[in-house]
Amino acid sequence: MVEITESALDLATLIAAVAGNDAGAVVTFQGVVRERSDDDRPVLGLSYEAYPAMALPEMRNICREAEAAFPGIRIALAHRVGELALGEASVAIAVAAPHRRSAFDACAYVIDELKKRVPIWKEERYVGGDVAWRENPAGENMPQRA
């Protein structure tokens, strides 16, 4: 399960999508909207936009890479777009694996690669009315040639 949605993310749906009796571990991750920006400005909320025609295939590529590196795992990955309030989840991941280590490692791989490669953009809205596009750390924020 890989999706980009304007609706609130539901971790239970992702967990159900990867569930199975062969799994001995399910690791989940959610990125959530924080009240302070990286440069310590008070944040009211975020707005995400995506290029789904590229973002969805790239999200699937990342999941396939993780599945190849960690045999026997299953991954569900969802990213929200549109307006998000404080505390809401922008991205959610569930990984089921035979054992916990590969579940943790695969989950970390998926979020790290998503932040580098997937064409999704974030605008912060601040207390006072300013807005700003915020990029992931330099050198790790460019879609790469396939």
Binding site: G31, H79, I111, W121, W133
Partner: protein, 85 residues
């Protein structure tokens, strides 16, 4: 003389705001490249040039160099540095 080609352009995030438009259609001469499409846009919105080094160009969903030749009906996307997650 061969007919112009028609290319659909999509812009995102700060590039979209700078251009004031998320999507439009460019008419370009046959043989035009992705870089030519960028240049046609920069002529309409000069501040776009400041983003040239940080903007990736995609053709039909694949990242390409500016020299990639365009075809009628192609979709070109202008991708600033990403911020997902």
């Amino acid at each position: 003389m061969a007919a112009n080609i028609s290319v659909r352009v999509l812009a995102f995030a700060r590039v979209r705001e700078l251009l004031g438009c998320a999507e439009w259609t460019l008419q370009l001469p046959p043989g035009a490249t992705v870089a030519d499409a960028w240049e046609a846009l920069a002529e309409r919105a000069e501040p776009l040039r400041a983003l040239a080094s940080s903007t990736r160009l995609a053709q039909n969903g694949r990242i390409v160099d500016g020299g990639a030749p365009l075809h009628d009906g192609d979709e070109v996307a202008l991708l600033p540095p990403v911020g997902g997650g």
